[in-house]
Symmetry: C2
Subunit: 380 residues, 2 copies
């Protein structure tokens, strides 16, 4: 039970979240689990007020500041509750006296964000791609923005639908607020363009249970009175996100991931790698008659590649067979079905090559099978 078996080399994880972590991070986390930096303590057991944990905590913040090149006038907040929690906490904290906000509905998650926001204020839908089955995004120039909105909420990448904003809307003086859960840290981010950016950790940051918010300081301080203290941006900013006990282990792992990204070359390098991985997979799908991609070309996600096979039965078989080949977690989001391969930072080129190789073999086996069936039919 206690012996740690080596992970088979052939396992590749394409989960949408919680998702693959960099191997060096897991290796280093062994030390954090049992005996952090020779302290005799597990990070899991450290009080958050201890000297040791303070070091872990401050390192995580400063590494993230470095990664996103945090401009002056912004705060990084570490919270709990996931991005779905933020669907409530963003309006609680940022509707201020204005009481109304713009929401772009571009997929499953932005729809939920808008629905939750209606509990706290009035929501103006600036665009809605539901009619397309969330497969295209109308050009931002045509969105019906409200110049008096408290903020304009966008979802930079729709994890369930496999589509991504290729251009930010010009919202003028209205602060842009982005749910960047699935593409945060996958490419450089110009923080100054945003009033707030948030992301739950379980895609490119670390373990589920940590949510990161980057917010312009000028927007905080007018939270509604019903905002719980532990989710009040002003209190969090003033207390270095320690209004109550932070999710210490998740912060520790996030810090290791931040350091790994910096060591690998930073966000520009991540962007290059992610673009390349996605290109390989999309090009293969395009070249195939067996697979198809529902997302419009100009908004295909670099991080969640959604595709389909000729039938649902074939899709189910594909997921099962892929699993037998060590290619894990390829089933699409429950609302869409189909296949989804998430290619976050920690998913290697090797994983994508293995996936494309398997896809090719699977398609050929099915075509031969179909051809054989047709031959049999012809002979009968």
């Amino acid at each position: 039970m206690n012996e740690v078996r080596e992970t088979p080399r052939s396992i590749f994880n394409f989960a949408a979240g919680p998702a693959s972590l960099p191997r060096p991070v897991l290796e280093e986390a062994k030390e954090g689990l049992m005996n952090w930096r020779g302290s005799g303590q597990s990070v899991l057991e450290m009080p958050f007020t201890s000297t040791e944990f303070r070091q872990i905590y401050e390192e995580a913040f400063s590494l993230l500041e470095e990664l996103v090149e945090l401009p002056p006038g912004y705060s990084i907040l570490f919270m709990q509750g996931g991005a779905y929690g933020q669907f409530a906490f963003i309006p609680m904290n940022l509707l201020r006296g204005i009481g109304k906000a713009d929401y772009a509905i571009t997929g499953h998650w932005s729809s939920r964000a808008a629905l939750e926001a209606r509990k706290y204020g009035s929501v103006n839908v600036v665009t809605d791609n539901s009619d397309s089955g969330h497969t295209t995004i109308p050009p931002v120039e045509g969105w019906t923005l409200d110049p008096d909105a408290a903020y304009c909420h966008i979802t930079t990448n729709e994890t369930a639908n496999g589509i991504q904003l290729s251009k930010l809307p010009d919202t003028g003086a209205v602060p842009l607020v982005a749910d960047s859960t699935s593409d945060f840290l996958t490419k450089p981010v110009d923080v100054k363009r945003f009033g707030a950016i948030y992301a739950s950790a379980q895609k490119n940051i670390g373990p589920a249970g940590l949510t990161i918010v980057i917010v312009r300081n000028a927007l905080i301080g007018e939270a509604r009175s019903i905002t719980p203290n532990v989710f009040n941006f002003e209190l969090l900013a003033a207390n270095n996100s320690k209004v109550n006990t932070p999710p210490t282990w998740a912060v520790y792992i996030a810090g290791l991931v931040f350091r790994w990204i910096l060591a690998e070359g930073g966000l520009m390098e991540m962007a290059n790698r992610n673009r390349n991985k996605a290109r390989i997979l999309y090009e293969f799908i395009e070249s195939s008659e067996f697979y198809h991609c529902p997302a419009a070309r100009d908004c295909r996600s670099t991080v969640n590649v959604v595709f389909g096979l000729p039938t649902i039965a074939l899709e189910e078989e594909f997921v099962t067979r892929a699993r037998e080949h060590g290619l894990l977690n390829l089933a699409g989001h429950a609302i869409n079905g189909g296949i989804r391969a998430s290619l976050y930072n920690a998913v290697s080129d090797e994983a994508v090559t293995a996936l494309v190789g398997f896809m090719d073999e699977f398609a050929i086996s099915k075509k031969s099978h179909a051809a054989a069936s047709r031959s049999r039919v012809a002979l009968e």
Copy 2:
């Protein structure tokens, strides 16, 4: 960096939270970190919808049901946000049409709970021990209960103050709601006595970032409209606490802790051990002229033993010297100062013996020093 050093045997952790975990749990967690049950996957990387994680998740729930002997008509909810989050979510979910609740103020944390509840309804303070510096608890028979309150909120153990309720108030038809963060699972619990019990994990359950709520089903379904979906008890109960991604790693560790408690003999055995550990420490303090315990005898906590030394300078020296002896995290809560030794389930008899041994030596060294100083003064 990657080599895991053995933890020195002499390290004992008396942290109030995040706190000591059972050694066998940490040993087993190595497997979960690198390769869970030979799956080739880290628990950190598993999607919460995967077959593997579903197994971990359902095991954690059923082990907890077994531990607390969950009666029919109750739901266990796994949440994020800490007990401090519940200070808001309890009134949001349980004030219902009634809009007012009873709060017993018995220490630092119940004071905060009452303050947060005022955001959502009217608070009737049934008892308040502030005048005593939170060192005694007035008898429950004298509390000014409101028979029409939506619920009566108590804090079964005050972590910062080292006092614990020895008797539950008889609230009649009014549901009793308990913040049991620091003594949950340290002794048997009669769930039927409560409308709701909640506890954040980082004392006796597992990592910070998981909060457990046990709630009577009859009380849910009337959450205020401003309740965030991810903290709505009705939605959580209906969706097996998977309204959004649960804090998967924390749930995994909690499951290991639950199994460890059961293997060790369950909650009755924990109660016996904890009573014994506390008795040894309190008896030593009582027998000493050097140490003193501010808490009244009839409400001394079995899990957070708060005590003082003759001067603040001596207390600071005590904490430093103790640390050099491998006795960690003995400083009191910031609001109180002094010394606090938390004796949760995972703190061994050996740890308490080591602490008492050190306390004795420290006191003797100071008395000899004082005597020597006096002698010098006399000689001069």
